[in-house]
């Protein structure tokens, strides 16, 4: 993995920060946007450059739900567990996904195709229960729609393979 981007990100924030220390959380967010997660190497680099002890960085990164210390799959599925989604059956949507993908919340499939996580609220409570696949919202989910969605993804992958081979 190439970690030059980490230097660029820190330099960019150093440039605009008016406070003495560059803002740590935006830096970690940008690193995660770049790599999809926070690799150990990126931590070490950030720690040295900002002169913040590694243990403090780790403390911050594990405090917030957004930060991942594990990579995500090609298809990253996030399930909203907010109140509105809960009363509309989000737990069943999550268990259906866990069963179909054979992974639990926070895990990635061994082939790295899928990863699954829960979120506290997407803010689209009116179309509960909602899930997100690679940033795209899907509302009013039920078991059938989950199955269809996964089938569509598999189909998409097949199509891509055909395209690449043909």
């Amino acid at each position: 993995m190439d970690f030059k981007k980490v230097d660029e990100i820190i330099a960019r924030h150093r440039g605009k920060a008016e406070e003495k220390i560059p803002p740590l959380i935006p830096i970690l967010q940008d690193i995660q946007d770049e790599y999809g997660w926070l690799p150990e190497q990126a931590f070490v680099k950030t720690s040295r450059q900002l002169d913040i002890p590694l243990v403090n960085l780790y403390g911050v990164a594990t405090f917030y739900n957004e930060f991942r210390l594990k990579p995500i799959g090609n298809y990253h599925i996030s399930v909203c567990m907010g109140t509105a989604c809960h009363v509309q059956g989000a737990p069943r949507i999550l268990s259906e996904l866990e069963r179909k993908l054979e992974i639990a919340d926070g895990e990635i499939t061994p082939d790295e195709k899928y990863s699954l996580e829960t979120s506290s609220c997407f803010g689209c409570c009116a179309i509960a229960p909602a899930i997100m696949v690679n940033g795209e919202y899907h509302g009013k989910m039920d078991k059938k729609k989950v199955d269809e969605l996964l089938e569509n993804i598999e189909q998409e992958k097949e199509d891509e393979k055909v395209k690449q081979n043909g």
Binding site: A84, H86, Q88, F122, C124, A126
Partner: protein, 620 residues
């Protein structure tokens, strides 16, 4: 765009944009809110764009992607002007006829009109629909008619005139007086009067003061920032002028990418036009704003925790006093209000404190935005005057409960709030009345629950959430909440005893009275309020080992009705854990309860409705 220095220049620009707006032959106000995105709006929008690019006509047609219209249940949706037609549940296939019939030939498409649940009549204009008709929209007024990424649209609707007015006609002290007089209370939590808070910050002498917009909240903050970011920015600049702040932050949830993007763009535009930066409107006042994405921690919505998060630390609350207004961000006086509070400020400056306080009740003035969701026909975002009854909100605006089910409770105030039962439906909604009912305004969530909702499960859900989100700093919250959850687990597993209810209430009191921050002090509310109003459900779980709402999996079982079963084998094939026994065409099938994971696959698979869930535990 050139910098605007005077009120006259702003007025000229407004007229110019207005005129441009009037020249359109047709405007399609297409909802670009998050909920509509989740219902497939992007595909419809792409189809509209393609179709419009294809037609060669000398008409001027504007396809405007607006903020959330609020009527999320019916999305994707659009309002077409000048005909004033609301089309709902639009699909890609409808695009052809919308353009061909309505836009080009002025014909109405009845199939796309809104159809009220269980009623025949179709309604063509949003102004006639009960969902909109019974609202009073102020901060939401422009959400559905302007493109959030266009500062021109905002200026055409009178945007930034309040800022211009405040800077030229008001001293900072007078702005504070106006806000105090309006009675505006903070819309984010406990309802502290905004003007009083500003005054404390104003009175502190410091070289550097900060303003923060707490947009770490649910649906409402998202949709306002997403749909009308300049309104919040304008409110914050006025607030900054009033208390003497020179910098500010908008702390928004990273889960709301559209809101983050729109806010960034709006800040760039405001800087370009000189509404942010140095010497705003030639007044000598300097102010600038920055977006910070909240990284996902519920407790970071608490104001001291929020500030630590901006400082780059873990979002853990600290003891107050000192209050942020005295010693806040990096030790400087800081004023924090939430999105909706800031959104009200420009209106108060433009229309006056007297106008604002004429809306609502004596102690809770103005309107309030609610996110009306859960088991209700018209889910969406609504804005109503304070003092409206719950009944009006749920039945007149919300259209009642789907499928003719019975209303059970409405949960307000988010995880820190409480559940209000049917007996209190005539409660007039304001800060005080909600608190009297052991709930709170919070930032305006309203989750409606029906007979199929188990209140013990709801309490358990909130405790699970709060256990996850407790920062771990003070023991009452860190230890008390998991202990309460343990008891709830026991009750919903069928292992609860009669002494458990007293223990829950005791623990709840301790957590409430001895936690450090607002999150901890309210963490027991979901349990305490359900215990108060729905004690019978707890007792059923404990004494009868049954969940009448059919939610708690250990207190219900799946049953194949012998008389209905045709032994078709469909359920057996659908069952992922092979726990259904039977041979095709022979005796009725049955479920071995021990292996059943309650996934519901068999119910979905059965063509004869022969499988049911029953409350209680199966006797083997």
């Amino acid at each position: 765009m050139a910098k605007i220095n005077t009120a006259e220049e702003l007025e000229k620009l407004k007229e110019e944009y207005r005129q441009k707006d009037e020249e359109w032959d047709c405007v399609i106000n297409f909802c670009g809110g998050t909920a509509c995105q989740g219902s497939g709006a992007q595909k419809v929008l792409n189809a509209l764009k393609n179709k419009l690019a294809d037609i060669e006509d000398n008409m001027d047609i504007e396809l405007r992607v607006t903020g959330c219209h609020g009527f999320c249940e019916q999305g994707p949706l659009a309002v077409i002007q000048p005909q004033d037609l609301l089309y709902v549940n639009i699909t890609e296939d409808d695009v052809e006829q919308i353009i061909e019939k309505t836009v080009l030939n002025n014909e109405e498409i009845e199939d796309l009109f809104y159809n009220e649940a269980e009623k025949e009549d179709k309604i063509k204009s949003d102004k006639e629909i009960p969902f909109y008709k019974n609202q009073e929209r102020i901060v939401f007024e422009n959400n559905g008619v302007i493109d959030a990424t266009s500062v021109e649209d905002y200026i055409a609707e009178g945007g930034y005139s309040a800022l211009s007015r405040a800077l030229s006609e008001f001293t900072p002290r007078e702005v504070i007086e106006e806000v105090k007089e309006s009675g505006l209370k903070g819309r984010g939590g406990a309802g502290f009067p905004a003007g009083v808070k500003w005054e404390i910050c104003y009175d502190r002498e410091a070289d550097l003061k900060y303003i923060i917009c707490n947009a770490y909240e649910g649906d409402l903050g998202r949709s306002l920032l997403e749909g009308n970011p300049h309104l919040i920015i304008e409110g914050m600049i006025i607030g900054g002028y009033a208390i003497g702040a020179s910098r500010g932050f908008i702390y928004v949830r990273t889960e709301y990418p559209i809101a983050v993007d729109h806010t960034h763009r709006a800040l760039d535009q405001a800087r370009e036009l000189g509404f942010l930066g140095e010497d705003i409107f030639g007044s000598g006042f300097d102010f600038d704003l920055e977006v910070r994405r909240g990284a996902g921690a519920f407790v970071a919505g608490e104001e001291t925790a929020l500030m630590h998060s901006i400082e780059g630390k873990r979002g853990m609350p600290t003891q107050r006093p000192p209050f942020p207004a005295e010693r806040g961000l990096w030790g400087n006086p800081t004023n924090i209000n939430n999105v909706e509070t800031w959104a009200n400020v420009p209106y108060i400056i433009n229309r006056g404190a007297e106008w604002f306080s004429s809306i609502g009740t004596e102690n809770s003035t103005g309107t309030k935005v609610f996110s009306l969701v859960g088991k209700i026909n018209n889910t969406g975002l609504i804005e109503v005057p304070m003092g409206i009854t719950l009944r009006e909100i749920i039945f007149d605006i919300g259209g009642g409960i789907p499928e003719g089910k019975e209303f059970k409770a409405v949960q307000t105030g988010g995880p820190s709030g409480g559940c209000i039962p049917a007996e209190l439906l005539d409660l007039e909604v304001d800060f005080e009345k909600l608190e009297e009912a052991n709930s709170m305004m919070g930032s305006g969530g309203m989750v409606v629950m029906d007979e199929d909702t188990c209140m013990v499960d709801v309490a358990k859900y909130f405790m699970q959430f709060l256990e996850d989100e407790s920062c771990g700093k003070c023991p009452p919250c860190r230890v008390g909440v998991p202990k309460m959850l343990e008891i709830l687990d026991r009750i919903t597993n069928g292992n609860g005893g009669p002494e458990d209810l007293e223990k829950l209430a005791d623990l709840g009191d301790t957590v409430k009275n001895s936690s450090l921050c607002g999150l901890g002090q309210t963490a027991a509310n979901p349990v305490l309020s359900t215990l108060e109003h729905f004690k019978n459900e707890y007792e059923e779980h404990i004494n009868d080992k049954a969940c009448q709402a059919l939610v708690c999996e250990d207190l219900l079982y799946y049953n194949i009705i012998e008389e209905e079963c045709r032994s078709c084998d469909q359920c057996k094939q659908a069952c992922p854990v092979d726990t259904i026994v039977g041979t095709p065409g022979e005796d009725p099938y049955y479920i071995v309860d021990e292996g059943c994971i309650r996934c519901g696959s068999c119910i979905e698979a059965c063509p004869f409705d022969a499988i049911e869930m029953k409350p209680g535990q199966k006797e083997n």
